[in-house]
């Protein structure tokens, strides 16, 4: 099972933004990989583009502090589960998730659509 977390520039902490996070951490059965988010600099449609990236990488679980409605719709359609991150570092959130202590993310923002 592959888990994705949006990462900050320091590649350690969770990024406050999902679609425009510079990196993603992919965690799969203890193995960690940091990948560049191709949607980070997108002019528009960053949410859907970042979501597509996770779908194409066969991610099953996303842990993130927030997420836009469009991306959430993609994850619902692709059966990807979304959990709300609680801790600063990605590693701590992975542990929390493994202990099944993270809650499902249920509130999604409307997206900025060029009105950032």
């Amino acid at each position: 099972m592959k888990v994705a977390i949006p990462l900050d520039e320091n590649k350690i902490d969770v990024c406050a933004a999902f679609a425009r996070a510079p990196f993603f951490l992919f965690w799969e059965d203890g193995k960690e990989t940091v990948v560049t988010n191709p949607a980070a600099e997108a002019q528009s449609g960053a949410g859907t583009q970042a979501a597509q990236f996770l779908v194409d990488n066969a991610v099953s679980v996303l842990v993130t502090p927030r997420c836009g409605q469009n991306a959430a719709d993609v994850f619902t359609a692709a059966d990807i589960k979304i959990y709300k991150s609680e801790k600063v570092s990605a590693a701590e959130n992975i542990s929390k998730w493994q202990e099944e202590k993270l809650e499902k993310l249920t509130h999604f923002h409307a997206g900025f659509h060029g009105h950032a």
Binding site: D73, V74, H113, H115
Partner: protein, 274 residues
């Protein structure tokens, strides 16, 4: 000739200037491109109003014909299409209706569907043809409505632009021959004024400035205009009596000969006077 009035900041006086310019021009066309809040019609109270529906087109996908090749998803520059479970999924609010997905589909599985997103109201006030673009509530983009409204340009045309400096403003001034930048002499007004100035420069438009609601001069704005060699067409003083008439939706140049003269002079400076 097409003259666009824009300001960046809302409430700077775009509609005030645009309505009075059209009124001073006599036989002219006024087009309200601020389709999210078209308020020029409150002043004009146009007669013989005819309403036509404006449509947008969006792609629809025939799941039986789709072979899952992903060409449409790959070619969408707006990332409005997502590939899930070997089929495309459309995000209508992200879609810019460009039609590329239909062009690239090798199976002919994509077609276009029309849906109403707003209306044009076309009426008359004396010699002025009054056009209002009106976007339906909840629609994400007013561009198709602005596009249709601009087709109504006829003779001397005054374009009342939306606030800001984003796509809707760009669409409104694309064909303009001259841009009147309505500036409010405040820090906020000046900040947004610089943004629209950057836009008109990028589009290489001729432009001039009308400073509205002037009390004492706002120095940074004055200095900026001088540095850039921007011509200040007029300084309209802040006037409580004028504001009172505005609040009653009255057209200033129809009530005060000196206001009529003011806007005729502006037209003259732009080169649009009869």
């Amino acid at each position: 000739m097409k003259i666009a009035c824009l300001s960046g900041k809302g409430g700077a006086g775009k509609t005030f200037v645009a309505v009075n310019l059209a009124s001073a021009a006599g036989k002219s066309t006024y087009i309200d491109c601020d389709v999210e809040e078209p308020n020029g019609r409150l002043f004009w109270k146009p007669e013989d109003v005819k309403t036509t529906v404006v449509y947008k087109t969006q792609p629809v996908f025939d799941a039986d014909k789709c072979n899952g090749c992903r060409q449409c998803v790959k070619s969408c520059r707006f990332h409005a299409l997502i590939y899930i479970k070997e089929k495309p999924m459309l995000f209508p609010e992200v879609c810019h209706n460009c039609g590329l997905c239909e062009m690239v589909c090798p199976e002919g599985a994509v077609s276009e569907e029309k849906s109403g997103i707003g209306v044009l109201e076309i009426g008359r006030h004396k010699d002025v043809k009054v056009v209002s673009g009106i976007l339906n509530l909840g629609e994400a983009s007013g561009i198709p409505v602005i596009h249709e409204a601009l087709h109504q340009a006829e003779g001397m045309t005054i374009l009342d632009c939306p606030p800001g400096s984003a796509c809707s403003v760009m669409e409104s001034i694309m064909d303009a021959d001259y841009c009147v930048l309505v500036a409010e002499p405040t820090a906020f007004g000046f900040h947004n004024f610089k943004m629209v100035y950057e836009l008109v420069r990028l589009l290489k438009k001729k432009c001039g400035v009308v400073i509205n609601k002037q009390t004492e001069g706002y120095q940074p704005l004055e200095e900026f205009c001088e540095e850039q060699g921007l011509s200040v067409l007029e300084r309209i003083p802040y006037d409580q009596e004028l504001a009172g008439h505005l609040a009653k939706n009255e057209i200033a140049s129809e009530h005060f000969p000196e206001e009529m003269q003011r806007f005729r002079t502006i037209l003259d400076k732009i080169g649009g006077a009869k």
